[in-house]
Subunit: 229 residues, 2 copies
Amino acid sequence: MKKIIGILGGMGPGATADAFEKLVASTPARKDQEHIPVIVASLPDIPDRTENIIHSGASPLPAMINSLNILKNAGASCIIMPCNTAHYWYDELRKQSDLPFISIIESTCERIIAEEKHPVALLATTATIRTRLYQNKLAKAGITYLLPDEKDQDNIMKSILLYKSGKSKSAYDTLLPCLEKLEKSGAKHFIMGCTEIPLILHDLSRQQPEKYIDTTEELIKKTIRWYYS
Amino acid sequence: MKKIIGILGGMGPGATADAFEKLVASTPARKDQEHIPVIVASLPDIPDRTENIIHSGASPLPAMINSLNILKNAGASCIIMPCNTAHYWYDELRKQSDLPFISIIESTCERIIAEEKHPVALLATTATIRTRLYQNKLAKAGITYLLPDEKDQDNIMKSILLYKSGKSKSAYDTLLPCLEKLEKSGAKHFIMGCTEIPLILHDLSRQQPEKYIDTTEELIKKTIRWYYS
């Protein structure tokens, strides 16, 4: 019985496609048949995660559990979820099945801690910041991190929503000044801690792979290690 | 009940990811929740289609039916299959379910015929050429087409397999001289009639979108029209 990776996606769909593409591109296969089996559930009508956490909007959990069950029934042997903010519900989701569930937050923090990449600035949704998904783990490991000020955080959120609405150029232009300010404040590395950010910063982050930590890529690298283990 | 697109993929995985990415990029959505629901089955351990048709290798049909059933059980309301050669089994697959199944061959031919894009050269696997998946439809509509000579066809097949083995630069270098010869022979347009070819010719075909007909893109455009119909 071959292992099948289940991608719990749709948050957002562009980030899901990016994760799938990165999985294919990073697999050491010489022909189709050697590639990793994948089932993707990209059912994006999931209530907005940040809206729920910040403004008490509808909970995304039931829709996320629905996607998880689709993947389980389709034969997935491991779940990954290429959305950082959605990991606020990681423990709840883990309770729904016995399948291994590789965390994007853990995958990313493991690399940052192992390579002592700090001071590191966190680029993420306002909900990911408020729920301290990264900060608690980094602080515990003695990694110094920087957060954007409130105005820049609003702009980062705006940039993510611009990208989700199809405006990738405006998203980039809105995000760039925030990076420059964080860099002036001492940031040596950036966690692209929302899976839309590697898409917004695609060209820039490819030019400086040591500076930009792509959470989607860290998740995929750990998934591939799990697959071959 | 929302419609869900089922992508019967894995042939190859890179082409599957490309189809998914093109679906997301071409959807007129302003936020995650407006995007088209998609389930992808990319279970690439499907016997090679060309090997079966040309050299009587194992049949890919049982594995394709398995993926189709996974999509059906997961709630797909329509099937698409981003692989041209696999459409040799299109009629057999259609018999397996009542779901609409949008053909990549039909989608592409409809555009070529409507826009009278000829003379058109066919770039495809040797199996797609031998089984006349495109030629019969084009000839019937009075579209003149060109096929590569035997040596160039071998190189096109080699280029596709190079891409599938991760060697995208060699794939491009192997394919390019075949295009130049077809162009000298009078081809005004090219059908990228294997879903790896839009990946091999990515930059070139984006520069000349009128010349290169991307079968994955034609399939996705028709799928989006179906979704909103």
